[in-house]
Amino acid sequence: MLEYLIARPHPVGELADHFDVSRPAISKHLRILKHANLVRERREGRNRIYELNPAGIEALRAYFDRFWTDALAAFKRAAEHKNHGGLT
């Protein structure tokens, strides 16, 4: 489902056409994705449009941004410890 939403925003009915499951099942999964901030919903007239939430995908990048800051600090400690004879 995310693959379709990465391509472009979709009305919920059009998304449902891509999958061989019931409309309530589609709605349930969209709610889960929305709850996880991966997608967001907006209204256009009578249609509910789902689109990728850039902030949700960005969260993974943000996770690694913090991760590498921490990891490199730990790496520096290990490398300098070795340099001072702490490790063989």
Binding site: L2, E3, I6, A7, V21, L60, R61, Y63, E80, N83
Partner: protein, 161 residues
């Protein structure tokens, strides 16, 4: 058409020779890799990058279970290593290289005992695996772990601003 994410780029200055810096990063991977960054069910006992092109990147658990998370694409001691982080829509290792994010690490000698280490982590968008997402929706499995993980990240992100 596709959503692309900017790479994460970091660098750090280390008081060590370029050879030692490279060695600690790779052979000494377990001495610095953050313990919480592990996808298995049990605690991480040893974090390993195999020291050759095509080598595995994995975490070993207490009972010997090995959880793969990447592959070494390029092995160029002591100046460069390129490896992947490839975890799919089930929050598990996905062996397809087209679904892999890449981590490039460069080591620059600034002096006999001074090295700059640069990390670039890129292609996050490849990790969104539509095939598995589709399959997971059809089978009703696999989602909770992924969503829990994403939700935690999003929550962490919003709580830290």
């Amino acid at each position: 058409m596709n959503v692309t994410e900017a790479p994460v780029k970091k660098s750090i200055a280390v008081k060590a020779s370029v050879e030692d810096a490279f060695k600690v990063f790779t052979e000494g991977f377990d001495t610095w890799w953050p313990r919480a960054h592990h996808i298995g069910k049990q605690p991480l006992v040893k974090a390993v990058i195999e020291t050759h092109a095509g080598g595995r990147c994995f975490g070993r658990e207490a009972d010997g279970t090995e959880c793969d998370w990447g592959r070494v694409l390029s092995w160029e001691p002591p100046t460069r290593i390129l490896f992947t982080w490839q975890i799919n829509g089930h929050w598990q290792f996905d062996p397809d290289p087209a679904h892999a994010s890449e981590i490039e690490v460069r080591f620059h000698a600034d002096g006999p005992a001074q090295t700059t280490v640069e990390v670039e982590h890129r292609y996050f968008e490849r990790l969104v695996d539509g095939e598995n997402v589709h399959g997971a929706i059809r089978s009703g499995g696999g989602w909770p772990a992924l969503l829990d993980s994403y939700a935690r990240m999003v929550k962490d992100q919003s709580s830290t601003g």
